[in-house]
């Protein structure tokens, strides 16, 4: 008897992911146990429009208690003139912006997570009554702070000792889809240059539809026989317009003609497929000559 739990999607999956990763790390012993080490899953939160709720799972993998505070803000990725992505945030949000930051309540907003403990944060969304059909966005800020550090003071005479506590904040995407949503991108203004050890491309992606294009931009360099000789991939989200830079390793290439194919697709290795708004992929292929 085969029972699929796919339709339960990420609620259960996020829990399994958290536990699975913890178990895998424990078995492999690949990472040292850190004093302050909180795992967060998932990293993209899609609020269920029927229940208007979502979840984030925290697991304290460290050996010390962690203080966690959660808040929300409005922002989305943009690129600068060099193609570097950054988060554009807003201190005041225009009414026309598709911000859901002010609708979000998180329970609990503050907590103390014991070593090896896990906690599910419940996200409740209270949208206004008359809401246009589209996708709405926010960013969840999960701030994690450890206990006070022990500042060495080894002298028996009064002296001065100093140290800093460190806080780490993770900023995650939150999405709320009201009604039917669509997405897509157009790809244009492709630029390419070759350096000694890589091929670097920039491409402008303009979003279509009423939802963010969350996916990845891939680049595949192929030789004249069509064999892939090098690849690159960057996860991204196109909320309005994005002009990212992507590079593929190209050291030691033989002379000859190659092609570079850039493809934007609504698939990401780090986000479960059912959470994404899917769209046809778009691509462009350029000739590359290695003299």
């Amino acid at each position: 008897m085969a029972v699929s739990l796919m339709d339960r999607r990420w609620r259960g999956a996020s829990r399994i992911a958290a536990v699975a990763i913890v178990l895998m790390c424990g078995v492999a012993g690949a990472r040292p146990t850190a004093a302050q080490n909180v795992l967060i899953s998932p990293q993209a939160i899609v609020v269920d429009p029927r229940t208007r709720t979502g979840e984030v799972t925290l697991v304290n993998e460290g050996t010390a208690p962690a203080e966690v505070a959660v808040s929300a803000l409005y922002g989305y990725p943009v690129t600068d003139s060099a193609g570097t992505m950054r988060l554009q945030t807003f201190t005041s949000v225009d009414d026309s912006a598709p911000s859901m930051a002010s609708w979000i309540d998180v329970f609990p907003r503050r907590l103390k997570l014991a070593p090896r403990a896990r906690q599910t944060l419940r996200i409740l969304v209270s949208p206004p009554d008359s809401l246009a059909q589209r996708e709405y966005w926010a960013r969840l800020v999960v701030a994690v702070r450890g206990g006070k550090i022990a500042v060495a003071n080894t002298s028996t005479t009064p002296n001065i000792s100093a140290g800093l506590n460190l806080e780490v904040r993770s900023v995650l995407g939150v999405f709320y889809r009201n009604g039917a949503v669509t997405t897509g991108v157009t790809m244009h203004d492709v630029l390419m240059r070759r350096t000694n050890d890589s091929v670097i491309a920039r491409v402008r992606l303009d979003r279509k539809g009423n939802a963010a294009f969350v996916g990845a931009l891939s680049a595949v360099l192929r030789d004249s026989l069509g064999n892939a000789v090098s690849r690159g991939l960057i996860p991204l989200g196109v909320y309005y317009t994005l002009s990212p830079r992507i590079s593929v390793p190209a050291a030691g290439l033989r002379r000859g003609r190659y092609t570079l194919t850039l493809e934007a697709a609504t698939a990401r290795p780090d986000v479960a497929a059912p959470l994404l708004v899917h769209a046809p992929s778009v691509s462009q292929t350029l000739d590359v000559v290695v003299p």
């Binding site: 004093a35 080490n37 460290g62 992505m85 001065i160 100093a162 900023v171 996860p235 698939a267 290795p269």
Partner: protein, 165 residues
Amino acid sequence: MSNSRGITLLLVAAVFAGTSLGAQNSASATVSADVQQPITVSKTNDLTFGNVFPGLSASIPVTSSSAAAFSIQGQAGANVNLTFTLPSTLSSGGNTLPVANWVARRNTTNSSASGTDFTPSSSATAAVLSGTGALYVFVGATAQPTVSQAAGTYTGTATMTVVYF
């Protein structure tokens, strides 16, 4: 390109009804679930100046074992932004101790001996996680006690923010 990693668990359940040896049933179920990539930002070391002396600056370079150290684990090749909120003074009661000359280094391997240096600030620093989804950040600074610095234990808080796209 796979959207998620699938975990398939095969559950074999043997059901025994009471003590009847003849009433033994077995069933198997294939259970699948999407596993999403979690993220982990860890503080692996605090920044400690230890004992300092009036009028003598104490610098902690990024290569020092006393430097702050962070570890980020996420999706391979993912772009992230790093921003910092750093104090200009540490406090001990009503007294303050200046801290300046913040320096940082990032590396895709867990070593501060090499990597890319940058100045930690509120302006975003772009970085890319390694092929295994790792990034390590090391932060140092200089404590600058004045000649009349009051004795005490001075502390403050530094914040690193990691944005995922």
